[in-house]
Symmetry: C2
Subunit: 348 residues, 2 copies
């Protein structure tokens, strides 16, 4: 610690020194110095004043970043550029391009050899860091990077390596939010129709749902959980099982994704059961093409993946600047209220 202080007192001032003096984050200081991003004028002025006081010149920026030779980072995706990976890359790219960092896209297609070739290629390009993303948030092998200290972030992906930084949506908290919303609407027989047990997200979402029901004193037999597939067909099938079972029909159904919710709602309509008057339905994903076209439009959880991508960008900039981040961080999800739950909708 004292060693660090001594070094920064004698050496060329870094962007960390500027940020510290101005009382802002490194990302904000970077934006202010680059003249990019949306900052309040007074923030920008404070950063510029700090830079002047420390004799920090814009050209020092490159030196102040730990390995900042290239202003490029790589994204390795196993999502085949799909619907979970893309909003993350969108947020990441938006955040990084504000700091003039460009993003290499690499599709590893779940092929370890292809992933290894991409890593080799990215190292050859002298990237300042790598973001790993996936089609599901389950654990994977750590990325094999032969360069010590190269910042790596797992976004919507995780690994067991002790020093890894993993950013994930808070599936458990999101499910609690959804179930609690249904309880507050007066629902008491709340079923959960979800995807395959082998997904960590399925287990976490069930736990959050059960916690909300336990807090409200809902009995277990009023809270059946049906695990199956991530499909509309499974939603219709599960709905039939719920209504044919030897117990009172549910007055609410919390679904593990929007496709299941779509199948559940189609099934309810075809049985003559009205949504949301007879049964409230809540989905998960806020996949708008499904959620908005469902009849009635679907209340659902949004994992805020674009914001998760932005957060990965901010953290990566800090890692590149020498800050240390490790551990698994769960970021908040939100409930998007449409017509299928019966709650008053916010004005649009």
């Amino acid at each position: 610690m004292s060693d660090t202080r001594r070094r920064s007192a004698s050496a060329v001032p870094t962007i960390r020194d500027v940020a510290q003096l101005a009382g802002v984050s490194i990302g904000t200081a970077s934006k202010a110095l680059n003249g990019t991003g949306q900052l309040r004028p007074e923030t920008r002025a404070r950063v510029m004043a700090s830079a002047q006081q420390l004799s920090f010149r814009p050209n020092d920026l490159a030196h102040s970043l730990h390995r900042g030779q290239s202003f490029t980072v790589g994204v390795i995706s196993n999502d085949s550029f799909g619907r979970f990976g893309m909003p993350i890359v969108e947020g990441l790219e938006e955040c990084l391009s504000d700091s003039r960092i460009s993003v290499f896209m690499c599709n590893a297609t779940d092929d370890p050899q292809r992933e290894a070739r991409h890593v080799e290629s990215l190292l050859g390009k002298r990237v300042d860091g790598i973001v790993v993303t996936g089609r599901r948030a389950d654990r994977r092998e750590p990325l094999r990077v032969a360069v010590a200290g190269l910042p790596v972030i797992y976004a919507f992906s995780q690994t067991d390596a002790p020093d890894a930084l993993c950013l994930l949506p808070d599936d458990e908290g999101a499910a609690f939010l959804a179930a609690d919303h249904l309880i507050r609407l007066g629902r008491r027989r709340i079923a959960h129709v979800t995807g395959p047990e082998r997904f960590e997200a399925v287990r976490l979402r069930r736990a959050g749902y059960q916690e909300a029901l336990a807090q409200a004193g809902v009995a277990d037999d009023a809270a059946p959980v049906l695990t199956g597939e991530w499909s509309e067909a499974w939603g219709r099938d599960a709905l039939q099982r719920l209504f044919d079972a030897d117990r009172a029909a549910p007055d609410a159904i919390f679904c593990g994704n929007d496709q299941i919710a779509r199948g559940v709602i189609d099934g309810l309509r075809e049985r003559g059961v009205t949504v949301p008057d007879d049964v409230s339905v809540v989905g998960f994903d806020n996949w708008r093409i499904i959620a908005e076209a469902t009849r009635p439009p679907l209340t659902t959880i949004d994992m805020n993946l674009k914001e998760l991508g932005r957060e990965a960008g901010r953290r990566l900039i800090e890692l590149i600047a020498g800050k240390r981040h490790t551990g698994v961080h769960r970021l908040p999800c939100s409930l998007v209220v449409r017509a299928s739950c019966g709650a008053p909708q916010p004005p649009t």
Copy 2:
């Protein structure tokens, strides 16, 4: 021409010379020399023999590419990483990574200033070329690139600049294919329910559909065209109009996209009309999450966008190597037969 020959006789041999001697494309020669991609062993051997005969060393590869300093290219997308842009980038990245070229992803979000900043940043990174892609294939302003001769390809995007190279799906041919398929199934009252008139794709698809019907001698009043929105709700609404109209109901409906087709099929089922026995339905896009979940699963056009991306990659490699390509090229689409048209399905 003679000038070119003289130069290549005296100078260091290029990959073009190797490719020409081996009778293969520059892309294939590149793969063979890099030991990447899937080539027949005899092709690879022929390229290696040609390289040896010309004293072409692998290290010459970089020099042989026109501006090949960086082995990077940029993609500028206005599709917010969406469903049309992504398969294109996927195919492009797959093709280019076989030639060890990495891809920078830039999201311009339809903001000209943001696009200009991305171009500036890409030029700063010394990219060897740029691919422009969009959320729709309509005409746009040419990309403003201040570097003369930098290869630029418009993929699922087009511009009027006379020397631009634009790769687009053959919307007109695809619609002909779909309508002709319905005619061959014996259908004679074939309606077309499609998206907004302002899309070039809407106009081209209608033209292809009408050409097929004209060739089969179908009268105009048996071929109503309804333009509206790209949504399920419009599909259901249009269906009602078709069945409430003062003419015989259609025995087939060709839809401008899969969401419309989904709405049409839901509407038919809710009227008690059987698909495909009473009415055949064909969609457009092969958006699997919709097409496979429709009841019955949807026969639809696939624009082969991943292959369009690969073709953009091959062309870009050739442009970088000094070859000239200009003009608008329409690439073939295919018909994916599922249950909604009534044709025998190919074995899966």
